[in-house]
Subunit: 336 residues, 2 copies
């Protein structure tokens, strides 16, 4: 491994994505990507008594599924990197407590999935581990309850609001090659605070952190947008996506041809009343694990830049008048 | 690097702890280790309007201090690994948002400090970074408010209760040698759930995760307790410490000569009314950064096993009748 440019890590040793798995909730199951997910749930509780317990079950089953798909025995997995949006990352901690694999808790808000893969990739490329599992989850109901208002209140959502994805995505990373896509570069991001205070406009709060990480990635690697078949942000939604295109263009990077956002892809805005699009830790996690990974495996696309963004905020900081800082972590996934 | 035994990483490339810094609150400033801390605050707000903002300021200033002490320019720090106990790790995210260093958010409850150093060490040993800063914080008032009861209620604390340390500890890890102690092994821990549900008995909830990680570390490395001058857990307090000694003994590991706990060391139980001892992310962070690091530098001790434990819980899981799973991560720090 080596650091190149200002903040990118070139892995050198290939880190293969051996398998991926995805589980989504009922709303995502009615969206345009439904057929790509491994399991579509038809209710938000999945037999549990609370949303939090349901979210724990979703990430637990998603991790069991990805390990089974990898063909590895669970004792061959050296480490698990996971996190989520709930206070003290309880859906990961409780969902994965019976996993019996050393556990590294990660918090990057909605950037957690790519942060987890970044850490896992560095561990593997540096020979600290042979196989790791990375996972994250989010749940519309547990997130609304925690960050905004009780769902029972039936609050009207402004047009800038996004819809937290219910689901979990997971991958197994490995040193050993099984004809699989691999991670080549990791660009960890800086915290960027644009002073936005509207908890119903997360796309705008996070967009400039994505711009910062994307441009840094290009400068560090010497690549340009057209190197990639697809550049994909995590959950900026329609509003954040426009901000990214506009601000990258100002800096001389034209993303208009091959850039999209998972929050735009996962729901049908007109039919599903999801306003600015999907959000949550599970947004890029399910879209990558369910959809993009298959496109790579089938060589429909060969080079993807994944950029997950997180809004670093909670109910207390909002009440105390704080702004919402953003962060974005990027990885390159390739398959020649 | 290489993995040895079931879950330990041998770093091979030395990872030096170039500098450490510590800031503590008023209660810690009256405790037996007060003279070792870099800065002792005389009020809990430090000029801020809320406890959360005070905690953010504490970690921010602690990171500024450790970077200054390292002699490195801030642009020479490749990454920051940080986290804390507050929902969505806001004291780290807000405190460090102006740092302008790529940021990796970590959540391991009170195990966060050693988890952060573990990750930073692997990044450095694998050549993914040259210099990193690792930090964590906790605050008695923000923690009580969030996890238990409003302080204004004046609730009586049971004898098993621990006192969350107000403060922050930080280290700079580096490839380059400056006559400093270095990290040699990392043993990341598994989640261990003993079914304990009492949020006022965290020591008991976490102790068996420490036992699991300590014994695994010995088995993986072939070392025995007497190899170390000091074995130090994070914040098990008096009750958890006894559980560790007893259960390690059952497995044939006698810790009675050289084992202690930072929660026992940081307060004077009799004079300070702290019941079972200190706790919180900042407990091992301040005791290591303020006290143990100096003992190593001065070669009063040469080999330390640091084992930080975390209780993976929140107010919602307690209300939903869940138990409190624990986790413990360990590192060896040596200086010959």
């Amino acid at each position: 491994m080596k650091k190149i440019g200002s903040q990118t890590i070139q892995l050198e040793n290939k880190v293969y994505i051996l398998s991926s798995a995805s589980i989504v909730g009922p709303k995502e199951s009615e969206g345009p990507l439904a057929k790509h997910f491994d399991l579509c749930l038809d209710d938000e509780f999945w037999g549990e008594k609370t949303w939090e317990k349901a979210e724990s079950k979703i990430i637990k089953e998603c991790v069991n599924m990805v390990v089974a798909k990898s063909g590895l025995a669970s004792q061959d997995i050296d480490l698990c990197f996971a996190g989520d949006l709930l206070n003290q990352c309880i859906s990961s901690c409780f969902g994965l407590r019976s996993l019996n694999i050393p556990f590294i808790g990660v918090f990057g808000a909605c950037s957690t999935f790519i942060e987890a893969i970044s850490l896992g990739s560095v561990f593997i490329a540096g020979n600290a581990a042979k196989n790791v599992v990375c996972a994250t989850s989010s749940h519309f109901c547990s997130a609304e309850k925690q960050f905004r208002y009780p769902l029972e209140l039936g609050n009207q959502r402004p047009p800038t609001a996004q819809w937290t994805v219910t689901g979990s995505g997971s991958v197994v990373l490995s040193t050993s090659c099984d004809n699989s896509p691999y991670v080549t570069y990791v660009t960890p991001g800086k915290i960027v605070d644009m002073g936005i205070k509207d908890a119903n406009n997360m796309g705008a709060a996070m967009a400039m952190s994505a711009v910062d990480t994307i441009i840094t990635h290009f400068k560090d690697t010497g690549r340009t947008p057209d190197f990639y078949d697809l550049i994909l942000t995590g959950d900026l939604g329609y509003i954040g996506k426009e901000i990214v295109i506009e601000n990258c263009k100002k800096e001389g990077y034209d993303l208009s041809n091959n850039y999209n956002d998972c929050g735009v892809l996962i729901f049908d805005k007109d039919k599903q009343d999801t306003h600015s699009g999907g959000s949550g830790c599970a947004c890029i996690a399910t879209v990558f694990s369910g959809y993009i990974y298959k496109l790579l495996k089938e060589k429909e696309i060969k080079k993807v830049l994944l950029v997950a963004t997180g809004a670093l905020t909670n109910a207390t900081t909002s009440a105390q008048g704080e702004s919402i800082p953003g962060i974005a972590h990027a990885i390159s996934v390739e398959f020649e």
